[in-house]
Amino acid sequence: MKTSKVISTLLVACIALPVFTAQAQTIMIRGATVHTMGADGTLADTDVFISDGVVQRIGRDLPVPQDIYVFEAEGKPLTPGLFAGISGIGIGEVSAVEESVDDGLALTEMRPEFDVIPAYNPNSSLVPIVRIEGFSYTLLGADAQGTIFGGQGSMVRLDGEFGSFFGDPVLFINVGRDASSLSGGSRAGQWMLLNQAMNEADSPPASTETALLTRAGRGTLSRYANGGKVVFNVDRASDILEVLKFARSYDLEAVIAGGTEAWMVAKQLADANVPVLLDPLINLPYNFDNLGARLDNAALLAAANVTIAISGAGSHNAARQRQMAGNAVAYGLEHQAGLAALTINPARIFGVADQQGRIKQDLPANLVLWSGDPLEVTSVAERVIINGKLIPMESRQTRLRDRYLPENPEMPRAYIKP
């Protein structure tokens, strides 16, 4: 990438001194292939002007004010910041180090009121590691460990700020194989317990002896019962149909996560307007709930007008989301649909398309400039802008890399502090 000569002094200074303030900057990206992911489609050789955290203008040959950051894209793709899927970024540092992981509640009583938000730590090493790969937001998930209710999570912006949550809370429920051990050993028991819990939310039981929920839990569920967003982790086709029935009964806005057999009930999902978050790499019968796993699940669902988004790469390797979308495209999904499954679709599914997922005038600037096709494994993010802020392309991983790149240093590498 070339930078404009007019302001090269400033740029050199910025590169030499990578001190980035929390304040939004004034930035011009010139001559990009802009994937707006909205009604404007994809715009060739287009400039995007950003200030005060917002995309101010999109157009050709925009005037360049003095003393701002200018990036010459030379036709490279500019996309909205990508969705890192449902993850535990910032609520889990090292998976096997229990005390560093806060994404699930292991209590055996049902506590749908559990909310992971207070555990979020923007100083986690994962936040920079994931965002410099082009990811600007994730849905913090609550992982069911003790009961079929995982609890609640939230969208978070990966800008490294405290309290960067946005959108409405999301409730997580596990059904199917993963949850049978949490419901007396039968998936039929899950529906028995879920129905009982929803009924309690509607009318508290006379005696607390038989209650499944606390007062707070009842309050939580009754809030969701009026159109709240509920993610169901479920794979088997018959279980997905049960989810649709359950969601209809209680007026829940269901989202399917997993959905390896969703293609088998694509029409029912489309009719119910229920979206699917999926991992397009799953093509093996890992268990009896996904005997129907296949690589064109995403393509089949999209063809049936089911809204899909990519999820399932986890926290540390959330950047693999891109590769997952690329593989979905390799197996029949339209390229633009693959990009949408990482940008606008998850934003729409969770009602945050005014914050993330598209490039549009007057909306927050969450943008990524790529070295090439954003879904290709040989491409990388070159510039990342989150909420109008230029993100330093640095992380604990890049510092380790830069410590070990020099050959045969005289002093121990502990003295190399990139």
Binding site: E93, V94, S95, A96, V97, L126, M264, L281, I282, N283, L284, P285, Y286, N287, F288, L291, G292, R294, S315, H316, N317, A319, R320, Q323, G326, N327, V329, A330, L375, E376, V377, T378, S379, V380, Q397, T398, L400, R401, Y404, L405, R413
Partner: protein, 455 residues
């Protein structure tokens, strides 16, 4: 000193084994599938030797590669005009648990980790392999023609691994790569000390790990010496010559000390790998390959100097403490020093299907860090280097005349997320064809599921 003694023992031990009816127990019954001489023309060929040949030809006949290069192609054979498509050696995964942790991953299929004792060199992964694992077919569609099935890493010494040809058979013997040496799976670090530490058993620390391995090598040395003493007595015609009791554990370890079995050492941390190399020097054996090696980049020079390969991932990190320092340049940095032997491995039924994509990511990160890694260099990570790791480099892993005709024709540049293996040949036989459903194997398990609508 020690290694000299061992060298002296070698012929004796070999003669013991040779005189044994079980010299090659559980022998391979693999036979190449039917093939016909096949010529691929106008291909972009990555030979696996570091070369790239454009608009070149490759001839397979009698199950072997008989010609590679530009030049006059013989007539009268089945000819495939690749039209610029890419051709590589069949991919090799040195670290797979297909068959020992088959799909579906139910408890009944959990056969990869004999975690009843930290030291189980007596177990052989091949005795756990379920040949109907659907994962083999998916790996084949990803261009994998050979793979090593290893025990898991719960134990310090997990047992013998086996190298297979990726063909379906009703027995693992029908898949077994003829003449490939056994591997021995060993594990450093967190896994064994966690598994046994939680049971208040040794090892519960890294130093406990080391003490436990060393005790085993000492026992194995004595086993070799006892057999040698018996052989000598026997040769001298002494009447009281009685053979030592055969011990499956020590037999495997002796096989490592005498160089017949290759050590595949699961190890993440740089310091632990260095300690393991010292242990190998102490007992006079060599480590073939460190597996996972998330910190291998920190000691890339040491690995190259010791002629040890690193079988690594492109980007997995952070799942446990010893995987916390993972970087995406790991593979490229291990490949950098002269003699560096970097390998892309999977340890996963998903990853084994996309070794080419993993290599593409690692290649890209290396290039961005300033290393000159063209595709013809990177392809070695999943072909020639992997073959070297498994001790089968004289038979497969490169496209050279005389080698097994294990070949993949890709639909484009394999270093792409959109690349797919189109045709896969094993020993010259077309065993997978993306364009022909009749040449796409389906395991017994998957047949007839979902009322016949699946796949």
């Amino acid at each position: 000193m020690r290694s000299k003694i061992l060298m002296a023992c070698l012929p004796i031990l070999l003669s013991v084994t040779a005189g044994n009816a079980l010299a090659t127990p559980y022998p391979s019954t693999y036979a190449p599938l039917p093939s016909e001489p096949t010529l691929i023309t106008h291909a972009t060929i990555l030979t696996g030797t570091g070369e790239r040949l454009d608009d070149a030809s490759l001839l397979m006949s009698g199950g072997k590669i008989s010609f590679v290069g530009a030049g006059q192609a013989p007539g009268g054979v089945t000819t495939i005009d690749a039209g610029g498509r890419w051709v590589t050696p069949g991919l090799i995964d040195v670290h797979s648990h297909l068959g020992v942790y088959g799909s579906p991953g139910v408890k009944a299929h959990s056969d990869g980790n004999e975690m009843t004792s930290p030291v189980t060199p007596n177990v052989w992964a091949e005795h756990s392999i379920w040949p109907q694992d659907p994962g083999f077919s998916r790996a084949l569609a990803g261009g994998v023609t050979s793979l090593q099935i290893l025990p898991g890493s719960g134990n310090l010494i997990g047992g013998r691994g086996v190298t297979l040809k990726n063909v379906y058979s009703n027995s693992y013997q029908g898949m077994k790569f003829p003449g490939a040496p056994h591997g021995l799976k060993m594990a450093c670090g967190e896994n064994p000390k966690r598994v046994y530490g939680e049971r208040k058993q040794m090892p519960s620390t890294r130093m406990g790990n080391m003490a436990s391995y060393r005790a085993q090598w000492i026992a194995a040395q004595k086993y070799i010496d006892d057999w040698a003493a018996y052989e000598k007595k026997s040769a001298d015609g002494k009447d009281d010559a009685t053979p030592p009791t055969r011990d499956l554990k020590l037999e495997t370890l002796a096989g490592v000390l005498n160089g017949e079995i290759i050590v595949h050492m699961h190890c993440y941390r740089a310091d632990e790998m260095v300690t393991i190399l010292d242990m190998a020097a102490e007992f006079g054996y060599t480590v073939g390959t460190f597996h996972h090696g998330v910190e291998a980049y920190k000691i890339a020079d040491t690995l190259a100097e010791n002629n040890v390969c690193g079988a690594l991932w492109a980007d997995w990190w952070g799942f446990k403490m010893e995987a916390y320092d993972g970087i995406q340049e790991n593979i490229a940095l291990v490949d950098r020093p002269p003699g560096g032997c970097a390998i892309v491995h999977s340890d996963s039924s998903e990853g084994i299907q996309r070794l080419n994509q993993e290599a593409a990511k690692a290649m890209t990160r290396g290039q961005l860090a300033g290393m000159d890694i063209p595709p013809e260099r990177a392809i070695r990570w999943l072909t020639a280097n992997a073959a070297k790791s498994l001790g089968i480099q004289d038979r497969t892993g490169t496209l050279e005349p005389g080698k097994m005709a294990d070949v993949v024709i890709w639909n484009g540049n394999p270093f792409s997320v959109y690349a797919k293996a189109g045709q896969v040949y094993i020993d010259g036989a077309l065993v997978y064809d993306r364009d022909n459903p009749a040449l796409q194997p389906v395991s017994d398990f998957e047949l007839g599921q979902l009322q016949g609508v699946s796949q």
